[in-house]
């Protein structure tokens, strides 16, 4: 069995995230990491492997991104993935979700995976659309936003917590999955894992290797255009009072009344 995990390199959420001059997310000037939400995808893949037949199951991490994105693969390998695939091509820069999903689809297809596992959202773009787009392109059943997942033979069963109801979703055969941060508890790489990762294979592929016309991806062919980006003005400093002998409640209620919330 082969499991592909899609992992993205994202600027660290706790760092000062910013945009580059060409209005794309600055992935080079800001410290980056394996998107925290993709750790859950890697963990899920490892758990499926470990609870099935570890000897015959291979977990391959795939990323699309610049040179530095290799760090996302490395972290996945340290956690326990067996191999990495890095789609690395200057023409990819500035791709929107539609184009990213096209590139990922080709890269995943080349792997002939039985299961494809994604995170619920990337921590920078946070669109939560790439998994559904991938399923559309690959013609795979989508079992997405799984907060609890079981793989039993060739049946995948998931709990999906929607806005107004919780659904239990089932699909069979080759399936595309995305998992939420409720699905599991990602492991920390062990020392052994960190050492082993250095010897694991990482394949680097260009768009040409995947048979993708470079004119279809990148900033120039994006189907959306950013017209302006503005840093949000810092909020005007508010009033902060210290509660002494119950004064805080009174001040709070006065504020709420003045703002007509009461």
């Amino acid at each position: 069995m082969k499991i592909v995990v899609c992992v993205k390199y994202c600027p660290d959420a706790t760092a000062d995230r910013s945009f580059a001059a060409d209005r794309t997310v600055d992935r080079v000037g800001v410290d980056g990491v394996l998107s925290e939400l993709d750790e859950y995808a890697v963990e899920q893949a490892l758990q499926v492997k470990e609870s099935g037949d570890p000897e015959t199951t291979e977990v391959v991490a795939v990323t699309v991104g610049p040179e530095v994105a290799r760090a996302a693969l490395l972290k996945s390998l340290q956690m326990g993935a067996d191999a990495g695939v890095h789609v690395l091509d200057d023409a990819v820069h500035g791709s929107d979700a539609v184009a990213t999903s096209l590139i990922l689809a080709k890269a995943v297809e080349a792997q002939a995976a039985d299961l494809v596992i994604c995170g619920m959202a990337s921590t920078d773009g946070s669109m939560s659309v790439v998994p559904a787009m991938l399923a559309e392109r690959l013609g795979l059943p989508q079992v997405t936003f799984a907060s609890e997942l079981t793989v039993d033979g060739d049946t995948v069963r998931a709990r999906r917590d929607g806005d107004v109801a919780t659904e239990i979703v089932e699909a069979a055969g080759r399936v595309l999955i995305s998992v939420t941060d409720q699905a599991n508890e990602p492991r920390y790489p062990s020392f052994k894992g960190i050492m082993a990762a250095k010897k694991k294979p990482v394949e680097s592929l260009t768009l040409a290797d995947l048979g993708i016309d470079a004119a279809l991806v990148g900033a120039g062919s994006a189907w959306t255009a950013v017209e302006a980006i503005e840093a949000r003005p810092p909020r005007a400093a508010g009033t902060v009072v210290v509660d002494e002998d119950g004064s805080g409640a009174g001040a709070l209620v006065e504020f709420l009344a003045a703002q007509k919330f009461i």
Partner: protein, 322 residues
């Protein structure tokens, strides 16, 4: 003026407020046409039809059939794909729920159209809609447009105040053949969330949240929320501790809320929490640590113990209301 397709969000035929917001935005761009997915054969109920007309729907496309509820996402994309072909709309507006974004993503691929997610505002432009998004936990505002295909835009709750307008609401039944290949991820069980009697979190105009600082006791948070007629939210620390259900989590991996008033109690204000509440109009915090980062965001803050401040404030509000 071209048609604007608005995907209706409803619970058992009760149209949700987000749909009224989308219809209000759609009127800026063209003629709103609601797309209503009905379970089973009933199709559009009377209440839903009235509600859509009251907010300006000129047409209501009704797509009925059990498959739209029995299988995840894809059958709805099939239907919308057919409609986009037939109608050539000026834009498609979809609620920014998890499902809404997935529908939008697949529809964009299928119709070769540009996609914008999580818009907090949509305005008419010379050559198509202009959207505003709030990114990086609310740190930046981004203006964008779609430059290819049919603009497909998902819109966050509370993007606009719903405005009423009379719409003709002419009903057209749409027949879509949903192929076997779209019936692959089956919903085998659906457990509706138990009603709390409080407003829905993402729709509420006031949200009162509790975090680790509650120490597990949400009673003061709930009582304060009820005094204000508010929805209750929680931080991930509170959810992970099992103190409050995950469906009430506010933040990056929970709900995004944008109410008139957000009150954070015993919540430190981590970036992932802020991602879900930073666009709230007025922000209030109660926290015993004067250094907590949440105080950088507040319009009004109380440094104090929530177990003392909230019950006293609740009593005073209830007394004022008489």
């Amino acid at each position: 003026m071209g048609e604007i397709l608005v995907v209706v969000d409803h619970v058992d035929g009760v149209v949700r407020k987000t749909t009224h917001e989308l219809l209000t935005l759609a009127r800026r761009l063209g003629e709103p046409s609601a797309v209503f997915f009905g379970d089973g054969a009933d199709g559009l109920g009377e209440a839903a039809g009235t509600s859509l007309r009251e907010y300006g729907a000129e047409k209501i496309y009704v797509v009925a059939g059990a498959e739209f509820a029995d299988y995840l996402v894809v059958p709805k994309v099939d239907a919308l794909g057919v409609l986009v072909q037939q109608v050539s709309p000026t834009a498609v507006l979809i609620p920014s729920s998890a499902e809404g974004k997935e529908i939008a993503g697949r529809l964009a691929v299928r119709t070769e159209s540009g996609l914008i997610t999580d818009a907090v505002d949509v305005q008419a432009g010379d050559d198509g809609p202009r959207t505003t998004q709030s990114v990086f936990a609310g740190g930046f505002t981004v203006q964008s447009k779609v430059v290819h295909g049919t603009p497909i835009i998902t819109v966050k709750p509370n993007a606009v105040t719903p405005e009423r307008a009379d719409g003709a609401g002419a009903v057209e039944t749409v027949d879509v053949a949903v192929p076997e290949s779209s019936r692959t991820a089956a919903v085998v069980e659906r457990r509706p969330r138990a009603a709390t009697g409080r407003p829905e979190l993402t729709e509420a105009s006031i949200v009162v949240s509790g975090g680790r600082g509650t120490g597990g006791d949400f009673a003061p948070v709930e009582a304060f929320a009820d005094a204000l007629g508010a929805a209750v939210g929680a931080s991930r620390a509170a959810v992970d501790s099992g103190w409050y259900p995950h469906s009430y989590q506010v933040g990056q991996t929970g709900k995004t809320v944008s109410p008139q008033l957000y009150v954070a109690n015993g919540i430190s204000g981590a970036i992932q929490h802020r991602a879900g509440m930073q666009t709230s109009k007025t922000i209030v915090a109660v926290n015993k640590d004067s250094e907590a980062p949440i105080f950088d965001l507040v319009d009004f803050g109380v440094v104090g113990d929530l177990h003392k401040v909230l019950p006293a404030a609740t009593d005073q509000i209830n007394a004022r209301k008489g």
